[in-house]
Amino acid sequence: MRKPLALGALVLSSALLIVGCTADTEPDTTPTDTAVEETTAAEETTAAEETEGTEPGAAGAITIWTDAERQDAIQAEADKFAADTGATVEVVQKNFEDLRNDFIAQVPTGEGPDITVGAHDWLGALVTAGVVDTVDLGATTGNFESVALEAFTYDGQLYALPYSLETVALIQNVDLVGEEAPATWDDMVAAAEAAGAERPIAINTAGETGDAYTMYGFQTSFGAPVFVQDDSGSYTTEVGMGGEAGEAFAQWLYDNGASGTGYISTTVDYDINNELFNSGTAAYTIQGPWAISSFPDVNLKVNPIPSAGGEPAAPFVGVQGFYLSSQSQNALLATDFLVNYLGSEEGQQALYEADPRIPALSAIADSVSDDPIIAGFLASSQNGVPMPSIPEMGAVWDFWNAAQVQIINGADPATTWNTMIDNLNAELNG
């Protein structure tokens, strides 16, 4: 008897609620078909005036994923782009650590963004997952640091717009050992001993986990790269750190580990490392720009890493940039924004100011090199090699770190190192 009344009231009230809800929520969603129509309605006036015969307001929307540090700079460029083109740009903030897996998981479902911020060492995984599109920077290609372009190149194709570099360098305590860069590991130890430092150098090994990343500059100075690079600079899957060069590096680790001089110790993790250097206990350390704020008490100078094995030390360079989704529904707008806005000098300058990292655009890198810290890291990165981005790299870290820890702790260097190489080859080919 009362049912029709109740149902009527129900339908009415829920309808009201839906209207209220949808108006709030739809612009927040990723660009679905309905959202596109909804959001572009605002541009209808401008777009409709200029178009005849085309559907009004179909300019499309692009979505960009970013982390918190870069959000403001990207938003500013996005506003400029929106004003110029009438397109809607939505900047979504996410945790940097989540970006890679979320991008791989969501692009195939159609829920992913058109552009995402990312690190270059994700590239292999992104290409194998088929979620990134190639990028053509046109005439501006030559304006970027070559290591940055090399890093985003996979199988001869460029996959992202680079914008910043990061690398580790030798940081030295000027009050103890002066500003001069030591050329070799032995020079460095000698200088530190002459200055009376308790420890010549602090090297982070991430405790018992191992940190082959920080150690890589020394490893390459023995001529033992993790993977062999081909002529174009792309990494092959051939492990390059075996053989005599690798054994020599392992021996060096052993000689400076628990059974040798003890300069390198697995008791040092990131925080202890920074504390040792900041307190003046260690005269040198190997760290990246992210750790500089941990050294407020030290008068420091950033220099290239000294050679331990005779060849130049080439630390890993990490590059960050913007990837383009392979499933973008608005690829033309997204590319336009990527290349002509984010890739422009003003865009890169704004990104640098929002989050000062070593710029990948050479012009900006030059203009900020009067900052001695940036200049120091830039010099170190120019010696460096991009961290391999091939998917095989994911399997390497655990083996590599563990072997280094065991050797530092006193395991037989040659056997441990060669077993690690064997296991690695078995894993990569098996």
Partner: protein, 540 residues
């Protein structure tokens, strides 16, 4: 619910008089309560319809179907007078469905696929990716200023400016020179005789045209080897070449340069007859492959056995030791003669109040062999490698876990002790039982009745205690010279995390799901057996 039905059923057998309806049925419901219900249901419906609309928009039919069914059920249940018990059960059932059954079902589904890096999307997307990766910019190609031009009806072409010479072409017509074209200062053609130049604003506003422009390839000449002009953002044209061709009927990709044919394989990849594969694959149903691989992979099997044994040892010892310690303290501090019991009890509970991952990180620092306070204070600065020796690391993990969990057992035991029947203990005392005998035959059995189920759940929790392992040792120290990436303190769940490769960026979700299901089965069996045992305790 149980009460209302029994209340309705019982009187019928005892008294012959017609029984009044239970109050819930008697209530005609047009007062304030009905309005509240209506408002609540309106919210539920609004939310449901919203979800349905969104699911429709993103074309996820499973979610759409499930939401429609759930919403209809909700309306039927709450607006019919018949389904009284369901009114109470329904929310619980919905949560059960969404958070338990769906999650488990989905995990099982993933376990039967090879979903992971390299097998992330559909076959169609893998073809897209292969074509994208194959199409290469010709190395010395300049970037030509480019304009999009149209001709009636529906012909779209590119006009490029090749150092002052404007050339126009379409998909079928290679580039040919056009006389009398006008170019802007930046080189972009602005007027081409016989063609309409599309203004930039119009391109921005027309999504369909954008797609056409992106997929348009204008041949440079009649020779296919010369490549074709392509634009990415509508203002610059560059020469590209591609060699792969997709044949939708045969479902194969053919390299037109070498003639190699890549056909789809059962594992979701394109492979040539000689075994070379294209980079991007798609995910396919692989049946029980993941489960078989977990048992037969020579690199894993040996270390997984060690890890499994340690997992059982870790979980069992964690529960036994922390239970014993907690019970001991509970008995000691349950004595009425003790002063300041409350203060001491509060202090004892403190470790339980810290977040476990913080405590684990603190202990990691304190156990550092060179800089840690444990070696400095208690072992005269000896460099004992608490976290670098396999056995000491096991001990350290166990010790920290006991330190974290004994306050819980202290709390539980204290509560249970205080609720023990005093008369039984008194009777035992009168019968001349000593302290130990009373504890052995009365206190402990009675205590176990209420705490054994907690012990079982605590075992299951320790079995999967990822936090403490990862924060304290990350599973290390690694097995020496082992081909797996596992370590001495890895328990099954942390081993799964390492094997799945999620942390390294090369994820194998199929394998990880299969292993998780195995862990779930193991814990399920142990818990079932243990609960059966505890029923015997209740016979006291």
């Amino acid at each position: 619910m149980a009460q209302s039905t029994s209340a309705a059923a019982q009187p019928r057998t005892t008294s012959p008089t017609p029984q009044p309806e239970p109050h819930a049925r008697r209530w005609r419901g047009n007062g304030a309560g009905f309005l509240v219900k209506l408002a609540l249901m309106a919210i539920v419906n609004a939310f449901g319809v919203l979800v349905i609309l969104q699911a429709w928009a993103v074309e996820s039919w499973w979610i759409l179907g499930a939401s429609v069914v759930l919403l209809l059920l909700a309306d039927i249940v709450y607006f019919s007078k018949r389904a009284l018990p369901l009114k109470y059960l329904f929310p619980g059932l919905v949560f059960l469905f969404i958070f338990q059954i769906f999650t488990m079902g989905y995990t099982a589904y993933v376990a039967l696929t090879n979903y992971g890096t390299g097998h992330a999307g559909s076959m169609e997307q893998a073809v897209d990716a292969a074509l994208i990766q194959d199409e290469r910019r010709v190395d010395d190609s300049p970037a030509y200023p480019l304009a999009i031009v149209t001709q009636e009806p529906d012909v779209v072409g590119f006009a490029i400016n090749d150092e002052g010479v404007v050339r126009v072409g379409t998909e079928t017509e290679p580039l040919t020179e056009v006389e009398d074209a006008e170019v802007a200062e930046n080189g972009t053609p602005t007027a081409v005789p016989g063609w309409d130049v599309v203004p930039r604003a119009e391109l921005y506003a027309d999504a369909e045209l954008q797609e056409t422009v992106l997929s348009l390839r204008v041949p440079v000449s009649d020779e296919a080897d010369d490549g074709s002009i392509r634009t990415r953002e509508g203002t610059r044209g560059t020469i590209y070449q591609s060699s792969l061709e997709w044949d939708p009927d045969a479902q194969t990709l053919t390299n037109t340069d070498t003639g190699v044919v890549y056909s789809p394989t059962a594992t979701g990849e394109f492979a040539a007859p000689d075994g070379t594969r294209l980079t991007t694959g798609w995910y396919v149903f692989v049946g029980f492959d993941n489960f078989v691989r977990a048992f037969t992979d020579g690199n894993l099997a040996g270390d997984l056995l060690q890890v499994t044994l340690w997992t059982f040892a870790f979980a069992a010892l964690s529960v036994l030791v922390s239970f014993g310690l907690g019970l001991f303290f509970a008995i000691v501090y349950n004595d009425d003669r003790l002063r300041g019991r409350k203060v001491i009890r509060t202090l004892l509970i403190l470790p339980y109040a810290f977040p476990a991952f913080m405590s684990a990180l603190l202990w990691r620092g304190m156990l550092n062999s060179e800089f840690g306070i444990v070696n400095d204070l208690f072992f005269f600065g000896a460099g004992i490698g608490w976290l670098s020796d396999p056995w000491l690391a096991k001990f350290a993990v166990l010790f920290v876990n006991v330190w974290l969990s004994y306050p819980y057992w202290f709390l539980v035991s204290t509560g249970a002790l205080q609720s023990l029947p005093g008369d039984t203990l008194e009777a035992a005392t009168i019968d001349g039982a000593g302290r130990w005998r009373k504890f052995q035959y009365i206190t402990l059995p009675l205590l176990l009745v209420s705490t054994a189920p907690l012990a079982i759940s605590s075992f299951a929790f320790s079995f999967n205690n990822f936090t403490i392992i990862y924060m304290l040792t990350e599973g290390g120290p690694g097995f020496v010279n082992s081909p797996s990436r596992l370590g001495a303190t890895d328990i099954l769940i942390s081993a799964i995390y390492k094997i799945s490769g999620v942390s390294g960026g090369v994820a194998d979700y199929g394998m990880a799901s299969a292993l998780s299901i195995m862990v779930f089965v193991v814990i399920g069996i142990i818990s079932a057996l243990a609960f059966r045992q505890t029923r015997k305790l209740e016979e006291f």
